[in-house]
């Protein structure tokens, strides 16, 4: 109960600070198990997506986050495990690790995931090439919808290495879902996912 309140407070704060606005362009909010995949430029990214989701959806949506960052220090550990209910993945896969299995668990329990397939925070424009993880997930659960989410401005407001937040207005644009087609090759699926995300980027 306390953690839920804390999570609501976090979401309210980030919505006020960033003026966050959700634009559901390609689909509508649904509570069945789905995978939101987004461009990654700031540690605040998943909190922002989380904050703009309708509360019913937020309760069943879990961010996938890097264990190395979030397990360093008791406060981060508490926040990611208890408040945000993150699914922690070690980004440097060792023998015996099963990151795909860790993500499949919540999906099979009917929960949605927030993933950042670039794998690390991008400091430039556009997106970095996707890691193959989402293709593994799609092969295991071919009926899952992969929903592209473009986060605009948060990377500028609180970039990698930045301490203060520039008070910019952030927009989260939700695009048209992508699903794995029968027999689709990994490279094709990943490039389709990247394209579905990039069309949401505001033109320059």
């Amino acid at each position: 109960m306390f953690e839920k309140t804390l999570a609501s407070i976090f979401c309210a704060i980030i919505r006020i600070l960033t003026g966050a606005r959700a634009v559901w362009r390609g689909t509508q909010p649904e509570t069945r198990a789905q995978i939101y995949y987004a461009n990654h430029r700031s540690h605040g990214d998943f909190i922002l997506i989380w904050a703009i989701l309708p509360p019913a959806l937020r309760a069943v949506t879990r961010p996938v986050a890097g264990a190395d960052y979030w397990l360093a220090g008791w406060l981060r550990r508490y926040l990611i495990e208890r408040v945000f209910r993150g699914v922690l993945i070690d980004r440097h896969v060792k023998r015996g690790d099963d990151p795909i299995g860790a993500m499949l668990g919540p999906l099979e329990a009917g929960e949605s995931l927030i993933v950042f397939p670039e794998g690390t925070r991008n400091q430039g424009d556009g997106i970095l090439p996707f890691k193959p993880g989402i293709h593994h997930l799609a092969e295991k659960r071919p009926d899952t919808e992969f929903i592209p989410v473009w986060i605009e401005n948060l990377g500028r407001a609180m970039p990698k290495g930045g301490i203060l937040v520039v008070p910019l207005l952030c927009t989260v644009t939700i695009g048209t879902p992508v699903t794995l087609e029968p027999g689709e090759r990994r490279a094709d699926f990943l490039s389709r996912c990247q394209d579905a995300l990039l069309v949401l980027e505001p033109s320059e």
Partner: protein
């Protein structure tokens, strides 16, 4: 009747009572239009009209509270208006990781400093802080980001935003600094004159445009601006300005001439910022004010007219 027969607060009370009366009439008209014209159907123009009128109630209430609380509150209010306008502007402007520090300087140093200098009345510094010091220091800060991609464009856009959203807008509360013989303690009335004239020009342009507008002025820049709206709006609000001569140090014809000047400037302020919006592919700067769009949509005309109004008054009346 001399202006000095009433105290300043009495004058402001009269003006705000007048504005409230106008808003009552506007709300009544909005209600009648909604009941009669729509006939069960939803009409987007009338829905938007009512949203705009409701937003005006809120804006007038906030302004009235600030005026009632005094000069400091007015300065703080405009600092927040600048902050929101600058947020909206930078949010749709291209910058890179290398501009992070420059943006922090804009929001957390130059913006508060500009308004603080106005608060202490240091004209010599607030009038050059952004055109000189920010102009030179911000690109220096950006070069330290060691990223030359589109460098001049990025530096120019940040400076431009700071000029429009902070420097120009800050000339509204800067009117409090002016020392006008025989007008001591009444400078808030200058702000009322400026805002009422320029904002009523926006309103009357909208009204005349909706009633009579047919000849589009420049559809590639703003699809809603018409020649009839422009002429009707500017003339009507020039009459409003002239009718407000008694709250200013001006005679009635001086008030009319000044009102005409700031209305024309205000019109082109909206025009220039519309051109930027079209270029960026957006319709409004934001969603903050229901029916109006963002803060910058509401204050674009003021940011163009405020510095000129300030210098007209400063040159001829102090």
């Amino acid at each position: 009747m001399s202006t000095l027969e009433y105290s300043s607060s009495h004058t402001l009370l009269l003006v705000f009572a007048g504005i409230t009366g106008c808003l009552f009439v506007a709300s009544l008209v909005g209600l009648i239009l909604r009941m009669c014209l729509t006939g069960g159907r939803t009409n987007s123009v009338i829905i938007n009209l009512n949203a705009r009128i409701n937003a005006w109630w809120v804006m007038v209430l906030i302004l009235a509270l600030a005026f009632w609380a005094g000069n400091t509150a007015v300065i703080v209010l405009f600092a927040f208006i600048s902050l929101q306008a600058l947020r909206e502007y930078i949010s749709v402007t291209y910058t890179r990781r290398g501009d992070y520090r420059a943006l922090l300087w804009c929001f957390f140093f130059f913006l508060p400093l500009q308004y603080w200098l106005i608060g202490i009345g240091w004209y010599g510094l607030f009038s050059i802080l952004i055109p000189v010091y920010a102009f030179l220091l911000l690109p220096i800060s950006s070069t330290l980001g060691a990223d030359t991609t589109r460098f001049l464009e990025r530096a120019a856009k940040v400076q431009w935003g700071l000029m429009i959203c902070v420097y120009c807008l800050s000339h509204v509360p800067a009117l409090l600094v002016l020392d006008i013989a025989g007008f001591t303690g009444r400078n808030l009335q200058l702000i009322v004159f400026l805002l009422l004239t320029v904002q009523s020009s926006d309103v009357f342009q909208y009204v005349w445009g909706k009633l009579l507008g047919s000849r589009k002025l420049a559809p590639e820049i703003s699809p809603s601006k018409t020649l009839e709206g422009l002429i009707g709006g500017v003339l009507t609000s020039t009459a409003v300005g002239a009718a407000l001569w008694w709250i200013t140090p001006f005679t009635w014809w001086q008030a009319a001439l000044i009102a005409l000047t700031i209305n024309v400037l205000g019109f082109f302020g909206g025009f220039v910022l519309s051109a930027i919006k079209r270029d960026r592919g957006i319709k409004d700067w934001g969603q903050m004010i229901e029916g109006h769009g963002g803060m910058l949509d509401r204050v674009d005309s003021v940011s163009f007219s405020a510095p000129i109004f300030f210098h007209i008054v400063r040159y001829w009346w102090t």
